[in-house]
Symmetry: C2
Subunit: 322 residues, 2 copies
């Protein structure tokens, strides 16, 4: 019986996403289980395993038909050792995830960082299909990233490759970042950063609808800010312009180093679509080398929340192939 | 007769460096031929070929004992097509270098950018030995770069990967760069950049020995500036500090993306050694993520002018192996 299926698993703070796919990427089934964070996440892998066994039974598939499972975790991963060094939102620390999960599932397992796998998912079956050199920015609460070089995930020596959100874009007087540095891209171009700049600019521009909204006790969100800009609010427009200036600078600098074919923008903030891409491209074009600019194209992520499981399945098929 | 030798060729503006090596990197012979730039470099490959044949005869080696030849060229290269798109200092444009040279030599040939090959040379047999993830900065008239990811040269989709010198470090009001942009790393941290800043600062600080030197009609060089700093000249010190601030910022930002094990500094300016590395490390540490910083180490290039031929030989053994 030739191995022809892969299992993709994406561990998140509230739920674990799972999917069964063929090695060609055809989805047979996808489902979720809740993330049980009790006892520092000690039950999560057992829950995954029970659920997988049940689903394979229903699908009439045997574990021997699987190349194996890929699993994505938000945190610092040592892929070679199969360890989660630290996953703050899950509770795992120095956790031998590959050994435990492969024992439970009785199939080979490979682990990687969730942001890397989102990039791999978009590369395999999303906005980056066919682009063997690709950068993905995931713009949500923070700015995450994943990089594909020559058709493989860029890991770096310690698994920290692709930490795009912590490129310094405000070298002097920048806002402190969760990482311990200051002036990181994440402080100005994430949802959090955009809202922070929005609050500052609203106070400075009392004619702005953002100021009025705040006066009414309604907290600013990126959605509000993008909507206000559509209505012609110049303050909202300037906030977006500033966030995209820094994102364009960082994207161009990374592109000058990597010469990618595609730059994929995902995460919650990417819902703004062309309203985000237009100023982003504009600033990118100013800071990218001519040939680098001509080689590259921006694209909105296509897989949404499925990027992680798709990337995990890609990881299994790519890293576990016999 | 098993193929066990490689030929490394490094085309420069004044001379072509050549070397015969075993696949393990043992040097049998190295020599130079002048670069004949007449008729847009039309005779260079023929000169190389004649010289190689002569040397192989003397070494009693047959072309069938060679895996092939690697050749490095300063310019834009299309490696897959075996073309030099444009090499301004040599005169080649849309030049099918692989086809012509492999006809002349009657062995397989592979071409790459000279800066990439300098990085590969240091990775194979120099300061970066064993570091499968490596960044090399070549600081001379300009700032060149080469990147090794997972033991292979990073090329990007169009061969522009590693254009480290054109990362923007002064986004607003930067000095115009040869590339058409402004505020590139090359404008502040190359020898040219350091001398340019030196001239500006010398005029502003008339007590500096740099000002006195200029008054005597002696042009500033990076060597002068580093020497003045050793003597305690504060203006010279501030010039070096500024150049290394920007180099440290760029190196940290690239490292945050690539998570390298080694950052190799080569080129003429690297002769300043610890006088350069000390302020560089200091600024790098400010802008690099903690884990990225812990994973990485600075090193001075070890191969000097031989890095290019060594890298070209590495390219042949790596890309032409049957």
């Amino acid at each position: 019986m030739e191995a022809q299926y892969v299992l993709g698993i994406d561990v998140g703070g509230t739920s674990v996403k799972l999917a069964v796919l063929t090695v060609d990427g055809n989805l047979l089934e996808k489902w979720n289980v809740p993330t049980n964070k009790a006892d520092n996440g000690a039950y999560i892998l057992k829950d995954i395993s029970s659920s997988v066994k049940e689903h394979l039974l229903n699908l009439r598939l045997d574990k021997n038909q699987f190349i194996g499972a890929g699993i994505g975790v938000p945190g610092f991963i040592n892929m070679e050792k199969g360890m989660v060094d630290f996953a703050v939102n899950i509770g795992w620390r120095d956790y031998p995830i590959v050994r435990i999960l492969s024992d439970y599932l009785d199939m080979p397992v490979v682990v990687d960082n969730d942001a890397n796998l989102a990039a791999a998912g978009e590369y395999w079956k999303g906005a980056g299909t066919g682009a063997d050199d690709l950068i993905m920015f995931t713009i949500g609460t923070g700015v995450g990233g994943g990089i594909i070089v020559k058709g493989d995930i860029l890991h770096g020596v310690g698994g920290m490759g692709g930490e795009i959100g912590h490129v310094t874009v405000v070298p002097e007087g920048g806002t402190p970042c969760n990482c311990g540095k200051a002036g990181c891209l994440e402080t100005v171009s994430s949802a959090t950063g955009i809202v922070r700049i929005g609050n500052i600019e609203a106070e400075k521009n009392k004619e702005s609808s953002l100021y009025k909204q705040k006066q009414e006790g309604i907290q600013l969100t990126t959605k509000n800010i993008f909507e206000a800009a559509v209505r012609g609010d110049q303050t909202a427009d300037a906030v977006i312009e500033k966030a995209m200036y820094f994102l364009g600078l960082a994207a161009a600098n990374i592109a000058n180093v990597l010469n990618p074919q595609k730059i994929v923008i995902g995460g919650g903030v990417s819902a703004a679509g062309e309203q985000l891409l237009f100023p982003l491209r504009n600033h990118y074009d100013n800071f990218a080398l001519e040939r680098v600019k001509l080689d590259s194209e921006f694209a909105l992520a296509e897989l949404g929340n499925d990027a992680g499981v798709m990337g995990a399945a890609w990881l299994a098929k790519t890293y576990l192939k016999d």
